[in-house]
Each structure stands twice: as C-alpha cells, then as structure tokens.
Symmetry: C2
Subunit: 196 residues, 2 copies
DNA sequence: TTCCTTCCTTGACACGGTGTAAAGTTGACA
DNA sequence: TGTCAACTTTACACCGTGTCAAGGAAGGAA
C-alpha cells in the first residue's frame, strides 16, 4: 500500500489525475498521460485495457486517497434531520471541486462510451443515497414539506447538488466555493423543509 | 427563403436535426448525416466547413423553425413579476425538450471545440437574460427576497433552469414534462420570492 | 554462472472519423 | 454551343485509440 517508490500503476493514476486537473477533459491523450508518468504509451495499456477504464480507475483511486466514504459518512452521525442535511451538503459540496477534473472527463465520455456512463451513474447513485438519507431524516423529524413525497424530494435535492450546477455557479457565475455551499444549504432548506 | 423544393443546405440541416433527435450525440457522423440527406459526404462540407459549424447552424435553424424568440418574448407581456416568472419558466421549460437532441450534441463538444463552447455560451446567455428580466420584474414588484441581490437571484434561476437539470429530472428521475414545469415554477418561487 | 520470469520499451500497424484535394458529371441558362 | 454552379467520386493526409511482436533490463532460483 504505502511503498516508498510508487509503482508504475500508481504513477499512471497520479499522472492522469494531475493532467485532468490542469487541462480540460478531452485534451488529455493516452500519450500525454504516458509522458507525464515517464513511461511508454504501451505501458499504460499494460495496466489499463483502454482509456475509459483508466479514467474510471482514476476516480476510484481518487476516492481512496481522498477518503470520500469517510467524508460522506460523517454526515451520518448528525442527530437532527436539519443537521444531517447541512452536513451532507457541506461534505459533498466541498468534495466536488476536488474531483471535478476527473469527473468532467468521465462526464464528457458518457454518450460515447457505455462503460463511462455506467461508472458515472454508479457514483451518482451513491450521492443519491446520501440525499435520500437526508430526506428520510428530515421526514422522521416531521420537517419535510407535506406536499413533497420522499422520492420527489430526493430527486430535487440530488439535482440541486449536481456537479453541473456546481460548475455553473462557481465557474460560469464566478461564485466562491463558500458562497456555493452556503447557497445550497439555504436553498435545500427552502426547497424541502416546511415553514416553521 | 421559402422555396418549394428544399435546397441541399436545408435537407442537410433537417437531417442533422432528425438524427440528433433519435440517436445520441456523438454517434452522429458526417457520413450519417449525408446519407440521411441523400447527398454525398462532400456535399455537406460544401455547405458547412466542419462538424461544429454544422451543429451550430442546426441550432440556429431550429430556433428559426420553432420561433424561439417569439415564444420567449411572450413572457415579456406579463404584467406582474410573478406572472412573468411563471410565463418564462413555462416557455423555456417547454422549449428544452424540443431542442434537447441538438443541444446535447453541442454540449458534448464543448470542451473539445472552443467554437462549440462559444455557440452554446451565447445561447445560454439569451436564457440568462430572460431570467434577469424575470428577476427584475419581481424586484420591481417588491417581491424579491431581501437577502438576494438581483445578480445572485439571476444566477440561481438560470442554474435551476439549466438543460442538465431538465435532463436529470425527466430522463434520470423519470418525471413527466408537466411535473418538471410545475416543480420548477414552485421552486423558483420558493427560491426567489419573499414570504407573503 | 545460467536460466527464467516479470515488467517495460520500441516500432510497426490496423481502424475509424474528420477534413482536403482534384477531376468528372449534370443541368440550367444564355 | 459554351459556361457556370452544384454535386459526385475517389483518393488521401492526419490523429488518436488500441493491437501485436520482438527485445531489453533487473532480480530471484538453481
């Protein structure tokens, strides 16, 4: 796991990550990744069968390094529904910028490659489960708007917290990360919680 | 302009449109479009310098045929701010599914081609102006939440009404078009309008 | 030492899609 | 009859992905 000199596979994953962070999605070719890793292009194919699998592996590597599970799990310890909602939004909302490069690359291949679609869909399903749990907790507290079924509420929260919305607000509209998180928290409450 | 037998250029645009409606984005190749139009691949290049320009031209053609300007303009005639907000959401929200095929194709090329990015950005800017006008009308009526500046409110409404959000709710979550429009209207009010 | 194995390199190539180039066809118009 | 414009046909260059085969370097076992 924590060997001193990184093996080739890890070097490739690190390089992919770095390149996707700095340049945008489709500009990252297999040869670029190989060069960055100081390895031949064929060595990359020795470890990953194709580009899509490499990107998917990179997201898994990122999750591992960044401990995405641990972060999202933290929101589970909140007692009240409202606290749980806030904690989840904070955890996920602050995770987005860290994975955005890789996410955007994977997102860009969605309609080109079914495996990419599947991989992204799986990851978003995990986020959806977090939304569902938050909605459930709100409902248990009797705080969910009566005109909203749990599933619809989950759909809305999930959509609100999409990577695309984060990108639009922070990149296109120039919001700071903090402004984004605060706005999402406020919006989620207005969207889901009944008036006090 | 309105000749009886459609010229080649129009046939190509119609074919592009049709193909983008049925199949998904990147699967539509120049040769597919040519075949669908009953024309040689080179004839396509005779009318459009490259794929991106063809896609952009197709969106403009669609706008013309569907009278997008006229539709969005209708919301301008509403008297109250609330009516204007509703009318705009209805007009734009119901326009999305009609242009989605072409929009998705253009969207998919965004980070591959700067011209596509530019074209899409221009179109979204028009939508943003609609949002801005609705927010302004609300504010003039004294209905805009006091904790929201006009620009932030515009950003939020614009983000809420993004094509991606429409896709996620209708495609991924399976909402009907009507449910989508109703939810967006309700949400926009909760987001922007101060409590009565 | 020699041999074997594993990981990696080098160089070549097939494939598919975009875009270019050039010569030939067709039909309208004068 | 000639000319012009629109379109076809064929061929090709380019680029990125993915495949294939031969060979080299390092390390362990005999």
């Amino acid at each position: 796991m924590s060997s001193h000199k990184p093996d080739t596979r890890t070097k490739i994953l690190e390089s992919t990550w770095k390149l996707l962070e700095t340049t945008t999605g489709d500009d990252v070719r297999m040869s670029d990744i190989a060069k960055q890793a100081g390895v031949s292009r064929q060595a990359v194919y020795l470890h990953f069968p194709n580009r899509v699998d490499l990107l998917i592996a990179t997201t898994r590597y990122l999750d591992e390094v960044k401990d995405s599970d641990g972060r999202l799990a933290a929101s589970r310890s909140a007692t009240t529904g409202l606290a749980r909602l806030d904690a989840f939004i904070e955890a996920w909302g602050n995770y987005i910028p860290e994975i955005f490069g890789v996410a955007a690359a994977l997102l860009a291949m969605q309609d080109k490659d079914p495996a990419a679609k599947e991989a992204w869909s799986n990851r978003m399903q995990a986020v959806r489960e977090g939304c569902e749990a938050a909605v459930k907790a709100l409902d248990r507290d009797g705080q969910l708007r009566p005109d909203l079924e749990r599933e619809k509420a989950t759909d809305l929260l999930w959509t609100l917290l999409s990577v695309h919305n984060w990108e639009q607000l922070t990149n296109a509209c120039g919001w700071t990360q903090d402004a984004y998180v605060d706005a999402m928290k406020a919006l989620a409450r207005r969207m889901l919680v009944c008036e006090t």
